[in-house]
């Protein structure tokens, strides 16, 4: 059976060049970057080159880029690495953050930091008026994601950073769904901290980076040998860093091509949805990550649609999960925050295109999507 992968917001298949670089560096650059002998120094040079490459691609200084294990760790460094410096002070985040930030924020709450959660509008854009109001409480940190993982809405991070800095708060952005997908320039955004994860942009899993603006103080959350200039102890994953830098370089080079293709395919998918009827596209109509589509179908169970698509050879994800056994809603906190009609919210799937997709796969998906939605609506109508 044909298998079409349309879940690139979950993870991406590494570029062939990335796999090659990974394999080669594991074989030839195996030294410990902290060792003083030639083998170690070879690894050190390769690591610093990767750091420089990453820094250049996001307009940072190399010493502002810290290699981590990925987005979750970077988010944890941003929140837990700063909170102890500002005991009892509030922090602001949004209702639609990834769990890596949401759960960390809740943990900070239990450590005595009041946490304010910014609401979003129906397009999933954070409420800047609420931000202004909460900023009066003198928070130490504002953490708002650059792009949402479920609906793709790109947040006004630049404006958020400006407002937060006027009130003396630090600014962190979880840019896991943005880096490698849209141009990210840390100077232009004006953030103090940023999180990224390589496997979202065709790099390896288990590696990411943390941007920390020069002069901003963050405490390490893991104690050890003082690697990564004391911020992130643990022997550096040099092959991973090399592969990540290469993946980001290739993704950035492909922006124009991928954005053009995604725009065309998005129009094709939405046109098919129009033919099917009873659907809505979630997220902001323009301010969005190209190729990430959150689609809600009226009177459909999203989990059933996702599974039926999978059984027909198409991998997408769903914001719905069976909650017949609990009092919780069956769909995610992000979809709930949008305040959309329940009849639509329950039938939400996320389709995320990738660089390796081809026209025939999109054609195939469109046909299968129509077939599956109509099949499930038939069950509901008793047909």
């Amino acid at each position: 059976m044909r298998e079409v992968y349309l879940d690139h917001a979950a993870t991406t298949p590494p570029y062939p060049e990335v796999l090659k670089a990974l394999q080669e560096s594991y074989a030839t650059i195996y030294g410990n970057a902290s060792s003083l002998h030639a083998t170690g120094q070879k690894a050190r040079r390769a690591l610093e080159k990767a750091r420089e490459d990453i820094a250049k691609l996001i307009d940072a200084e190399p010493e502002e880029v810290y290699i981590t294990s990925g987005g979750t760790e970077s988010d944890n460094i941003a929140l837990f690495g700063t909170e102890a410096l500002y005991p009892g002070q509030p922090m602001i985040t949004s209702l639609i953050e990834h769990e890596a930030v949401l759960e960390s924020a809740k943990a900070l709450e239990s450590k005595g930091h009041p946490v304010r959660f910014l609401p979003v509008d129906t397009n999933g854009v954070v409420d800047l008026n609420a931000l202004k109001a909460y900023l009066e409480e003198k928070p130490f940190l504002v953490s708002v994601m650059a792009a949402n993982n479920e609906i793709g809405t790109v947040q006004p991070v630049k404006e958020i950073a400006k407002l937060a800095h006027e009130r003396g708060a630090l600014v962190h952005t979880d840019a896991v769904q943005a880096v490698g997908k849209i141009p990210i320039n840390v100077r232009e955004l004006g953030v103090d901290m940023l999180s990224a994860s390589a496997h979202k942009f065709y790099g390896p899993k288990g590696i990411g980076f943390f941007y920390l603006r020069k002069g901003v103080k963050v405490l390490p959350i893991v104690q050890g040998g003082g690697h990564e200039r004391g911020l992130r102890s643990g022997t550096e994953n040099v092959p991973g860093a090399i592969a990540m830098a290469l993946a980001l370089k290739i993704s950035t080079r492909l922006f124009t091509r991928t954005h053009y293709r995604y725009e065309r395919w998005t129009a094709q998918i939405l046109s098919k949805c129009g033919e099917i009827g009873g659907f809505r596209l979630n997220g902001h109509p323009q301010q969005r990550v190209p190729g990430l589509l959150s689609l809600s179908f009226k009177r459909i169970n999203g989990e059933a649609l996702m599974e039926l698509l999978d059984m027909n050879g198409v991998a997408v994800s769903t914001a719905s999960a069976c909650q017949s056994h609990s009092a919780k809603r069956g769909y995610s906190h992000v979809i709930q925050s949008l305040g959309i009609d329940e009849e639509y919210a329950n039938g939400t799937i996320r389709v995320s295109l990738g660089v390796e997709n081809v026209q025939e796969e999109v054609d195939f998906f469109c046909e299968i999507l129509k077939k599956c939605v109509l099949q499930l609506r038939g069950y509901r109508n008793g047909q």
């Binding site: 599974e307 059984m311 069976c322 909650q323 017949s324 919210a345 069950y379 008793g382």
Partner: protein
């Protein structure tokens, strides 16, 4: 593709039996446990204390669809007391969902049994 569902569950989800709406039925019953617009409505036609015919309309997760289909086949032709004797676990086991937190797999039979109990007690 790695199948996380049993072949039987997959088959009943993809090709549910007895979907529809009977024109002549003794009673219809709706599940009261589903949320967010999901629903099952069973139409049951009883004759001489037996389930002569059964059909349903459904919106829900793959497990509840498969369980409704499987249950509808299982009860068809059975007497009311035979239906009331069916153990919920039997359906869950046959469909390969043994995690008790998935209430959905037990819901179709529970819905039918609840209504049948009401029916016989008048």
């Amino acid at each position: 593709m790695v199948n996380k569902y049993s072949p039987l569950l997959t088959d009943h989800f993809m090709n549910p039996r007895n979907i529809g709406r009977l024109t002549d039925y003794t009673f219809k019953v709706e599940s009261d446990h589903l949320k967010d617009g999901d629903q099952i409505v069973f139409y049951v036609d009883l004759e001489n204390g037996r389930v002569k015919d059964i059909s349903y309309k459904i919106q829900g997760c793959p497990r509840v669809i498969a369980a409704s289909s499987f249950t509808s086949e299982l009860v068809k032709g059975k007497t009311i007391s035979e239906v009331l004797e069916i153990k919920e676990d039997a359906i869950a086991e046959r469909l390969g969902i043994t995690d008790p937190s998935f209430v959905c797999i037990r819901l179709p039979l529970a819905t039918l049994q609840r209504k049948l109990k009401e029916y016989v007690s008048g």
